[in-house]
């Protein structure tokens, strides 16, 4: 068992107040413990945690490039094995590094079956470069490269189903989690680390700056994503969903209306059809993962 009282991601880093990704770094290192080597891709987490000559990491940490963290991690894993060492290798990449630019490297590493755990902190856009759309950006979110405007409601495509893609590689353990449920997140990270082979945990990490909400609302926003069914926390073992967090679902509007990235759906006029389309995404999620708690009729 790992001592969860240890703080291995230290204070003093440069993340925004209320940063979801910083919580991911803290909770993941807590769950992983000190015998862990962390590989970061280029991105917010890398930049806010390691301005030379300072570092927030109290575990060995390496950053090479934007797209190659899984390849670097696979090299580390092989070297450790060759040297007879037992440290665990954990990758931390944002959604851009995971869904888009790092896709080939991740696919290669998972196909080769390295014993690594890949954590994607998913804040649903390229935040480090100024909130541009990624393959993880949700439908209708306004970003700086998918802006809403007179003839656009923002991002035109739903999120890429990355967990499913990695499960299809034969990953023995794939899970989704949220910073709003830290105990569940840490449990899943621990499980991934203790499962032999390449495992993937995708963590919903709300970004107050990029999504447009106050920093003290991060956890509330994360919870609403779960409660509306727009984010589902589930676990897949050997490609099969074995568990999903059930909720009494709220309408998606409650999640959308508190974020500036969806403001164009409400102002100047309410866009009923678009909100209905997003509600349909949540409904589909609910059906696919069977998350609805059925209340008895009074």
């Amino acid at each position: 068992m790992v001592d969860k009282t240890l703080e291995l991601f230290d204070c003093g880093h440069r993340a925004c107040g209320g940063c979801g990704a910083a919580l991911v770094a803290r909770l993941v290192t807590k769950a992983a413990g000190p015998d862990t080597i962390v590989v970061s891709s280029t991105g917010c987490m890398e930049v806010f945690s390691t301005p030379y000559p300072e570092t927030a990491w109290k575990v060995p940490w390496i950053h090479s490039l934007f797209e190659n963290a899984s390849a670097v991690a696979s090299g580390i894993e092989v070297a450790l094995k060759k040297q007879g060492r037992k440290e665990k290798v954990v990758v931390m990449g944002g959604d851009g590094a995971t869904f888009d630019i790092g896709m080939i490297c991740i696919s290669g590493a998972f196909e080769r079956g390295h014993d690594i755990t890949y954590i994607c902190y998913d804040n649903e856009a390229y935040m480090n470069t100024g909130i541009q759309r990624s393959g993880a950006t949700p439908y209708d979110a306004s970003t700086t490269t998918s802006p809403s405007g007179k003839c656009s409601f923002g991002n035109k495509r739903p999120k890429k189903d990355m967990p499913q893609i990695l499960a299809a590689h034969g990953a023995p353990y794939v899970a989704t989690a949220s910073i709003a449920y830290p105990a569940d997140l840490m449990k899943k990270v621990e499980k991934a680390i203790n499962t032999k082979g390449p495992c993937y945990v995708q963590v919903h990490a709300p970004c107050c700056t990029g999504w447009g909400f106050e920093g003290e609302q991060t956890i509330a926003v994360g919870k609403l994503a779960i409660e509306t069914g727009l984010w589902v926390n589930y676990e897949m073992v050997d490609g099969k969903v074995v568990k999903a967090k059930k909720v009494v679902r709220k309408p998606v509007e409650e999640y959308l209306k508190i974020q500036k990235r969806f403001r164009h759906l409400f102002k100047p006029t309410r866009q009923g059809a678009e909100i209905a389309a997003i509600q349909a995404i949540a409904d589909k999620n609910a059906e696919k993962y069977a998350i609805d708690i059925k209340l008895k009729k009074e």
Binding site: I37, Y52, G75, I76, E87, G108
Partner: protein, 384 residues
């Protein structure tokens, strides 16, 4: 022991003797024979290494970065498009001061696609912070791998190294090669001792980002280490010579240069042809000599200037072209000779695998004697 071996197999054998723990490579012509041979050695327990079959060259070198940072000796090999795909990883490996050694079976870059030899690939990475060794023949190609590891891993250097040898011309040619024994190589090349490594017992951060307050100095330190590696190359090259009779202390090597009026400067396998052409021209009474460049990075500016100080004219052969400017070697030689008053002319030759024959070398000597140069040599008439 003398063996008649294909260049690629000899290089693979030299790599085996260097005892890399992690090999990570992606197949590309004409590098394939090297990595196939290494994979075969691993499969037959002749080499105690992990052979990583990565999905492309970018990952090949990235995996080496991880393995090297974790404290293992690493190896890769590539060429041409593969090296181009590694572009940003090359800069990164050097910036992180990881002494990875990579063989480059030199090949042209597309478009148009060409699998044949020139040196555009490694030359285009000249600013990446890697040491660059160029072999004239396969004996040198094998020996330079031992030297490359020895120098790269020196704690005062800590930079990665290319060992370049001409694709097909050397990589696929059988030559008699004097292979060292494992005991020999172990005497010359000690076990890899990383300066720092990823280690849970002593956590450090690798690859942090630097603000304008620090970045400038990181680049300065890399440049200084590369320049100071000249002394390490000299020391270890000398030591190699004392141990095995082949001295690699000099970064440049003269051939019939002492009394030459006309000097040819060249790099790689073309030096062999040039030497034969020089012998024939000498028989005709022409005072021609060769200066072979074995190390292109760090560039031996002072050594080149000194070796050529007495000649009347210089012809530089470049199997590369900095399009819109000149050949990379010619630019360096012009820089080295600046102020000497000795005319330096560059000739772009043999791009994309076009044969360079003795008569071409002689024709270039005739051109430089007439003061004609800084040109593509041997162009087809229809483009003129």
């Amino acid at each position: 022991m003398m063996e008649i071996t294909e260049g690629s197999h000899a290089v693979a054998d030299a790599v085996r003797l260097c005892r890399p723990q992690v090999i990570s490579a992606y197949p590309i012509t004409p590098q394939t024979h090297i990595v196939e041979a290494l994979a075969d050695m691993v499969a037959n327990c002749q080499l105690d290494a992990e052979y990583m079959t990565v999905e492309n060259e970018l990952s090949a070198l990235s995996a080496c970065i991880g393995a090297s940072a974790a404290g293992s000796r690493t190896y890769s090999a590539t060429t041409s498009q593969g090296l181009a795909l590694m572009f940003e990883v090359c800069f990164n490996a050097a910036g992180m001061r990881l002494p990875i050694v990579m063989s480059i079976a030199n090949r042209a870059l597309g478009a148009p696609l060409s699998i044949w030899n020139d040196q555009q690939d490694s030359i285009s990475l000249r600013d990446a912070g890697w040491l660059q060794f160029y072999a004239e023949d396969n004996q040198e190609a094998t020996d330079l791998h031992y030297l490359a590891y020895r120098v790269a891993e020196d704690h005062s250097v800590l930079l990665p190294a290319f060992v370049c040898f001409d694709g097909f011309i050397l990589s696929h040619t059988y030559e008699p090669i004097n292979m060292l024994s494992q005991e020999d190589v172990d005497r010359f090349l000690p076990k890899f001792s990383p300066y720092e490594r990823l280690d849970a017992a002593d956590p450090i951060s690798f690859g942090m980002y630097a603000t304008p307050d620090y970045y400038h100095e990181f680049r300065y330190e890399m440049d200084r280490a590369l320049k100071e590696s000249k002394a390490i190359i000299y020391k270890r090259g000398k030591e190699f010579g004392q141990m095995f009779g082949r001295d690699y202390s000099a970064m440049v090597e003269g051939y019939r240069l002492e009394d030459a009026d006309t000097a040819i400067v060249a790099m790689g396998s073309i030096c062999g042809t040039t030497k034969d052409a020089i012998d024939e021209m000498r028989d005709e009474g022409k005072k021609v000599g060769l200066l072979k460049i074995r190390v292109f990075r760090p560039f031996p500016t002072e050594e080149v200037a000194k070796a050529l100080s007495h000649v009347h004219r210089i012809a530089v052969l470049d199997k590369n072209i900095s399009l819109g400017a000149k050949g990379a070697v010619a630019l360096e030689v012009k820089d080295a000779l600046y102020g000497s008053g000795i005319p330096v002319k560059g000739y772009i030759i043999g791009l994309g695998g076009r044969d360079v024959r003795k008569k071409d070398i002689k024709a270039i000597v005739a051109l430089v004697e007439k003061g004609q140069g800084d040109m593509f040599y041997g162009l087809r008439r229809e483009v003129l």
